[in-house]
Amino acid sequence: MTKSDSIIKISKLNKWYGKFHALKDIDLSVGRTEKIVICGPSGSGKSTLIRCINRLEVHQEGSIQVDGIELTDDIKQITEIRSDVGMVFQHFNLFPHLTVLENCSLAPIWVRKKSKVEAEEMAMQLLEKVRIPDQADKYPGQLSGGQQQRVAIARALCMQPRIMLFDEPTSALDPEMIKEVLETMIELADSGMTMIVVTHEMGFANRVADRIIFMDEGQIVEQNDPESFFKNPESDRTKLFLSQILDH
């Protein structure tokens, strides 16, 4: 996990929504197998940042390199990067007209050009990994939120990505389902995946993160390993945020 071996390099990134300055001069590099948790108050730009990494949002200034490929308007490059970067959304975004198995095998078949048999075999393996192989033939609407989110994780993993992005994966879930999703994510982390997770689950952050990044007002306020981050926050903003979120 040396800095020289970074898989994502972001430098001087600036992003505006209309005239609103959403991300300001972000510099960040992520090492292979590194796990990063990003936290911060709502509207701080944390989701925008990870959505820029697979070009769901377009930045106006600065550069993002994923695995050595620069993100530009080139559609081929964008598609290539997206198939290497898995993403899990707050609201799961499963395809309601496809079964769980079809949700998972869709991209391997159409993007990776695998045979259906092969793709479904792998999908089943991953569904077993997230512990819902028995739901493979159901439709997303028939599953609970926690199950849906685990399917979404399996769907992303089916592309055998090198990086996984999580955009508040547990904030739309009921408390009893948060645990099952977090457990799946911890297992994934233990398997050596590079992960960037936007979340407010500080227990998870403490357990898994190599580095915690605190963002506010579109800036990275501070970043540190979990121990230092929780024990010795440097910035007054971080302290205020931690006191609010930990008292909760």
Binding site: L56, T79, F95, K113, S115, A119
Partner: protein
């Protein structure tokens, strides 16, 4: 209407009675409901029966005995347009006139449904495009055409535009083998020269279409197993076309296409869609396409942003996303109201009367009714025809909805 009022009254009165005598048998809700329903059945059937009696009596007073014997009488008026059944003045009977009317209605409905679907999807896609001008153009189109009466639009196109501005046959507007002029649209028509060989040719064509479906299934299976895909549509289409053309010549041209040719004053050969049919078809298409476009817009808008982001995040290209994610989801929202629009279009084709196209309401519920006075039978048959169309539509809709429900729940 009567039955509603009566149900209301019965319920209210019985409520009151029950209130006053508590230990009454009327208090038993099952008994009460049975009584009400029995009374209702009696009233409805009695009303219908007496209406029927009065009508038959009134008709007889006017010298019309209600019976279907007029079906076989010869119709004393001319039906100018009947492409499917031969019309001979002095030979064609009333019941044949009815069939001609029904077929003409179905003809304009089918032509209208095809064109309105194509145009409606086109406008609906423009409406959802990311080009601002195209969006606004589609919006204006939809708002103009769906907020004016269809009858007015039919009359406008027919009287104010086509009749007034289309040239006489000699200066027809040319669209390939089609010619448009003030009398209508001249079209090419196939003429069968050798009936047997034509059937053989048709058989070969149908066979190659079936074969292409088998080929499609095989290609799909192959893709499922090996992941290799073939350009199925392209291969099938070119094979069908090649087979169709080559067998056409091998069989010694079993049919010919009769092209319209301009003679001295008018066209010779080919077929003609008379101007009323053309105007009606045009207006129905424009009017219905506005509604279909709105369905298409709503369908595309119903696919949430999250779906598109998810599709992009797993690396689907834009055409793949449209094909695999957007279209299947949008169609579920688009298809049911669009099927209802097809029924509306069929019902609306009855406005043909205003321009003189000879569909079922015009030749049957109007002309034949005026000639024979058989109001009861003629109106009933007209209504039954449309009710069948309507039942057929609901039948299709139910099948579709059930299929959707299976895949969703």
């Amino acid at each position: 209407m009567v039955k509603g009022i009566i149900a209301f009254g019965q319920y209210f009165l019985l409520d009151k009675i029950v209130g006053r005598s508590p230990s009454n048998i009327y208090q038993n809700p099952k008994f009460r409901s049975a009584i009400i329903q029995a009374i209702l059945v009696f009233i409805v059937f009695y009303t219908f029966y007496s209406l029927y009696q009065t009508t038959v009596f009134n008709l007889e007073e006017r010298g019309i005995k209600t019976s279907t014997s007029f079906f076989d009488q010869v119709a004393p008026f001319k039906v100018g347009f009947s492409p499917f059944l031969n019309f001979e003045l002095g030979e064609t009977t009333y019941i044949e006139v009815f069939y001609i009317g029904v077929l003409n209605t179905l003809l304009v409905a089918v032509l209208g449904i095809i064109a309105a679907t194509l145009l409606g999807f086109f406008i609906g896609i423009l409406r959802s495009s990311n080009n601002w001008l195209a969006q606004k153009f589609a919006l204006i189109y939809v708002e103009i055409f769906r907020n004016m009466p269809l009858l007015l639009q039919i009359m406008f196109w027919n009287f104010a535009i086509f009749l007034a501005f289309l040239p006489p046959p000699k200066q027809s507007l040319e669209f390939g083998a089609f010619y448009l002029n003030g009398r209508g649209l001249q079209t090419p028509v196939p003429i069968v020269e050798n009936n047997f060989l034509f059937k053989v040719w048709l058989g070969i064509l149908i066979f190659s279409i079936i074969a292409s479906f088998i080929f499609r299934n095989w290609a799909k299976k192959r893709r499922d197993q090996t992941g290799k895909s073939l350009p199925v549509l392209g291969i099938s289409l070119s094979v069908i076309i090649i087979i169709g053309i080559s067998s056409f010549y091998i069989l010694g041209k079993p049919f010919a296409v009769d092209l319209p040719v301009l003679g001295k004053f008018n066209f010779k050969g080919g077929g003609q869609l008379p101007l009323p049919l053309f105007s009606l078809w045009f207006a129905l298409t424009v009017y219905t396409s506005a509604f279909i476009a709105e369905n298409v817009r709503a369908g595309i808008a119903s696919v949430s942003k999250g779906q598109i982001e998810a599709a992009r995040s797993i690396g689907l290209t834009r055409p793949q996303m449209v094909k695999l994610i957007i279209i299947p989801q949008a169609l579920r929202v688009i298809i049911p109201p669009t099927i209802s629009q097809y029924l509306n279009l069929t019902k609306n084709s009855s406005l043909a009367m205003a321009v003189g196209y000879e569909e079922v309401v015009a030749v049957w519920a109007n002309i034949s009714l005026n000639q024979t006075g058989q109001a009861l039978i003629i109106i009933a048959m007209t209504i039954i025809f449309f009710e069948i169309c309507s039942l057929f539509t609901s039948f299709i809709l139910n099948i579709y909805n059930r299929r959707i429900q299976i895949t969703e729940r």
